[in-house]
């Protein structure tokens, strides 16, 4: 437990540093706002349209596929950490092969999923 206290400590100190920087720029920089400076920047022309329009769905698709493979990575992490320990210990030998084979089946299934996503064209054209 006391191993994680520095995380809280560095979080508080970082917030103080970031806050100090924000406040510093607020009070030290001169402020002479005029409406042209405060408008959204569009290479010098009048802004056309609203920024809150609909965006393309391909970003959402990428996020979804990332989520699936991230879950796979989450399952792979604990298995990878104990893999060498299991191989070195003296358990019943076929059990080691089952330990290895089971995760390989999982990886192969997800790899087939990647190929499916690939063939469906989600990773394609505008990306």
């Amino acid at each position: 437990m006391s191993n994680y206290l520095p995380v809280l400590l560095v979080f508080v100190i970082s917030i103080l540093v970031a806050g100090a920087i924000l406040i510093l720029s607020r009070f030290v920089g001169k402020g002479r706002p005029n409406p042209d400076k405060l408008a959204p920047y569009e290479c010098g022309v009048e802004p056309v349209g609203n920024a809150r329009e609909r965006q393309s769905v391909k970003f959402y698709m990428v996020a979804m596929v990332f989520l699936l493979f991230d879950i796979e990575a989450v399952f792979l992490l604990p298995w990878a950490v104990v893999f060498r320990g299991v191989l070195k210990s003296d358990v019943y030998s076929p059990l080691k092969y089952i330990f290895y084979g089971e995760m390989m089946v999982f990886v192969v299934v997800l790899f087939v999923g990647l190929i499916y996503v690939w063939r469906k064209g989600i990773l394609e054209w505008n990306r």
């Binding site: 006391s2 206290l5 560095v10 720029s25 991230d70 990575a73 990878a80």
Partner: protein, 338 residues
């Protein structure tokens, strides 16, 4: 307990001080290195050899006008650079800079804390850093910022998979998530125990490094924030110190990725005579991180930028399958060796 608290506070303060100075002088190093590659002399007017240039730049940035666009969502607009900076700063506390030093009879470890899930902590903070960029793009209420922010975050999450899965290959070898133990496990044997030299892991290092460059929006993968595309991407509407916070966060991410790469692959603080003079560990660590950063800068000034669809195709169709196949090969080799 209070002695421990004091020790942590001093270590964190020293670490933040060193990191901020390092980021400032990395901007100078980048400009100097870029100019040497382009056969010209870089900034050298401001101090001897340009060494006061970061100070001058910092003071200039503080005095610039702080513009907040009229239509921006204020709370998110102000919080986004803070999120990027905080996530970048927090990941430096688990990295081991050396083994142990003896100061006034008290043994001090040269890392701020030793978590037994160090690698997971770093992965989590890298994922949190993406929030800063996408929120900045959205809160600016500018079409180009929004597009730049979305593209930047889509790129970061795509390469994060290769980043994490290549770390899984290393974990198969080390058997622990604790970064300090991973660095200790690579000591001895005149550098032959470094993880890059082990057979399946040398290719994983290349995959990891490329994914790290793409993750930090750097070098050939910096389309979302390049100056001639999409104006300036997610930090178009930011001025003065908030812009500085984004740049600091970007350089900090580069330093963090290089530090993780050194710890996981290049043996961390190990080197000759480090068991007799523990402070040499700091020197070796610094040299290795600097070498990786210079390599990143070298790649930046040599390789042309990728187009966005080429970038995404590379991340999903090349790097991700290679990372997965690497895991299979490493596990098979370990199984056959036992």
């Amino acid at each position: 307990m209070t002695a421990l608290l004091l020790e942590w506070t001093i270590k964190i303060a020293v670490l933040l001080g060193v990191l901020m100075t390092a980021v400032a002088y990395l901007t100078l190093l980048e400009r100097k290195f870029m100019s040497w590659i382009q056969l010209r002399v870089g900034p050298d007017r401001v101090g001897y050899w340009g060494l006061l240039q970061p100070v001058a730049d910092g003071i200039k940035m503080i005095f610039k006008e702080d513009i907040i666009p009229l239509e921006a969502n204020r709370a998110v607009y102000l919080a986004a650079p803070a999120i990027a900076l905080i996530a970048a700063l927090m990941s430096m506390i688990v990295i081991p800079y050396g083994s142990q030093v003896n100061v006034f009879g008290r043994v001090i470890d040269l890392h701020v804390t030793r978590m037994n899930v160090g690698v997971l902590y770093v992965l989590a903070l890298t994922s949190l850093g993406v929030y800063g960029f996408v929120l900045a793009g959205w809160a600016s209420n500018n079409k180009y910022s929004l597009l730049g922010g979305l593209r930047s975050s889509a790129q970061m999450i795509s390469y994060e998979l290769a980043f994490g899965l290549s770390m899984v290959s290393v974990l198969l070898y080390t058997g622990t998530l604790d970064l300090a133990s991973i660095a200790e496990g690579q000591s001895g044997w005149y550098g032959l125990k470094w993880n890059t030299v082990q057979f399946p892991l040398m290719f994983v290092f290349v995959v990891f490094y490329i994914a790290a460059l793409a993750e930090t929006n750097r070098t050939p993968f910096d389309l979302p924030e390049a100056d001639s595309e999409l104006v300036a991407g997610y930090h178009t509407e930011y001025s003065s110190m908030k812009f500085v916070m984004f740049q600091v966060a970007e350089y900090l991410n580069l330093i963090t990725s290089s530090s993780i790469a050194t710890t996981l692959f290049l043996g961390g603080w190990n080197g000759p005579f480090v068991d007799r003079f523990p402070l040499l560990g700091l020197v070796y660590f610094g040299v290795k991180v600097l070498a990786l950063i210079l390599l990143a800068m070298w790649i930046r000034y040599t390789v042309p930028r990728f187009r966005y669809d080429q970038l995404m195709r590379f991340g999903w169709k090349v790097l991700l399958p290679i990372a997965i196949i690497n895991i299979v090969i490493t596990a098979t080799i370990l199984l056959l060796r036992s």
